[in-house]
């Protein structure tokens, strides 16, 4: 019988080892979250000043601005996290360990998702202060979580492919942003539906949330099954 014990399974042991390592590096350097946060805050403040004359317009575009900020900050986090593996070619040492390639993929996805979720917590409070939006609601948090998982799941595949190229900084957003459109559009629609004082009926958000979940499952499966080809020569 297959064991799903997270401590004894070699697969999950490898996943947590990768996550633990990424958290340790972040604990030592605090580079990923601080870069993502600084970029996000600068973006939000710039937009706030640009739209200050028309507060109503600012509030209308707040949901789109929130997602744009998350996506762009997410690419910074993805680049930084995979660049760590490139710096001393440490990925080679990881690839030489007797672990499944899918475990490396999942470990990277979990690590970068954690960093992005921390950023989103900061962003939610910034948006509440600047745009007076009711973002601190469980359904909104759920959609943000699901959207982040899908975006990072796609991002780790693309970043792993582009990280060895000279134009990686340009290639990542050029490839990833169009790829994430089928995720971001329904996710933004679902969040926008919760921006009114009254809670929308579930039927109204069911379809976009379902698309986000299907996208997550597709990207996680694709990454898990193909990471072997992505990282090996």
């Amino acid at each position: 019988m297959t064991s799903f014990n997270l401590n004894n399974s070699p697969f999950w042991a490898a996943v947590w080892a990768i996550v633990w390592k990424d958290l340790q590096i972040e604990k030592q350097t605090r580079q990923t979250i601080s870069v993502m946060s600084m970029f996000s805050l600068a973006t939000v403040i710039m937009f706030n000043f640009a739209l200050e004359a028309n507060l109503a317009a600012a509030r209308q575009v707040a949901t789109g601005l929130l997602w744009s900020t998350i996506l762009l900050a997410g690419t910074l986090g993805l680049n930084r996290s995979l660049a760590i593996e490139r710096e001393n070619q440490t990925m080679e040492a990881v690839l030489m360990a007797p672990i499944q390639r899918g475990a490396i993929y999942l470990g990277k996805v979990i690590g970068i998702t954690l960093f992005t979720l921390i950023l989103e917590l900061i962003l939610i409070f910034v948006f509440i202060i600047f745009f007076d939006k009711p973002l601190w609601r469980p359904p909104v948090l759920l959609v943000l979580f699901l959207g982040t998982v899908g975006y990072i799941a796609a991002g780790v595949i693309v970043t792993s492919m582009t990280i060895q190229t000279r134009t990686r900084e340009v290639l990542l957003p050029v490839l990833l942003l169009p790829l994430s459109l089928p995720l971001v559009l329904p996710a933004a629609m679902a969040v926008a539906a919760y921006m009114f004082p009254q809670t929308p009926p579930f039927a109204e958000v069911q379809s976009p949330i379902s698309i986000v979940i299907i996208y997550d499952l597709l990207m996680l499966s694709a990454g898990f099954l193909t990471y072997h080809y992505v990282v090996e020569s």
């Binding site: 490898a14 080892a17 340790q24 590096i25 030592q28 001393n88 080679e92 030489m96 360990a97 007797p98």
Partner: protein, 241 residues
């Protein structure tokens, strides 16, 4: 522990990068506990050969077996028995020496992790620096820690790709001692180097690779360093240093 001999068995190995052939039919047999040094000019396929044995590259044609297990079919199984030391440290500069080894101990699911990490640090003389980030280490210290990382899981085969690059004489001497200890522990060692005489002094067998083929394979005890340099020049048309 792998017990099947030969430890490394390569027959008719071919590797092409696109239309460019790099290895053109390499045959090689390495017995358990042997120390092999492979030399050759740049671009002849030394690193490619090592990376195929390290399971990091796949072959185009031919047969590669480690401990009797064919690659790449049994790569995941074989990886437990291989350690790689490259001229790149393959270590995380932002983590401390101990954290680096703990991470790899977790990846290899080693028992008694903490004891093994501390013992490995002691062996390479870095116990006192265990809490320092690797980015603060000298090149020699990094290479000693690299050896600790590569041997933490007690591999049967140790692969070395230009391990002396950038080391000063003291650090090179320390690395010599560490490699001799590894050989005494029964490890099979396969080293690539540009330093012909140094490589010859350490090994049991010296091989010359030229244009994707092994053109000379000699026991080191049967050839003097100056004869080896002449042989290298004869086969490659270049002078070895």
């Amino acid at each position: 522990m792998l017990t099947i001999a030969p430890m490394i068995q390569i027959n008719g190995l071919v590797k092409n990068y696109g239309l460019n052939p790099v290895l053109r039919g390499v045959n090689l047999y390495v017995r358990q506990g042997e120390f092999i040094t492979l030399v050759g000019p740049n671009g002849t396929g030394k690193s490619t050969l090592l990376r195929i044995v390290a399971t990091l590259l796949t072959k185009t044609a031919g047969e590669v077996k480690i401990g009797g297990w064919p690659l790449p079919e049994h790569a995941e199984k074989v990886r437990r028995y291989i350690g790689l030391v490259s001229h790149q440290p393959l270590l995380y500069g932002d983590l401390t020496a101990a954290e680096n080894l703990r991470f790899f101990a977790r990846l290899y699911r080693l028992d008694n992790r903490e004891e093994r990490v501390m013992a490995a640090l002691k062996t390479v003389g870095l116990l006192a620096r265990q809490r320092d980030p690797v980015s603060t280490f000298s090149r020699g210290m990094v290479q000693r820690l690299t050896i600790a990382r590569a041997t933490l899981h007690e591999p049967d085969v140790l692969l070395l790709d230009e391990p002396y690059t950038g080391l000063d004489q003291d650090a090179a001497r320390l690395l010599d001692d560490l490699l001799r200890k590894e050989q005494e522990n029964g490890r099979t060692i396969f080293m690539i180097t540009h330093d012909l005489v140094h490589g010859l002094n350490l090994c049991d067998r010296a091989l010359i690779l030229n244009r994707g083929k092994i053109v000379a394979d000699l026991p080191s005890s049967q050839i003097a360093p100056h004869d080896f340099l002449d042989l290298y020049a004869e086969h490659t048309g270049r002078h070895g240093g």
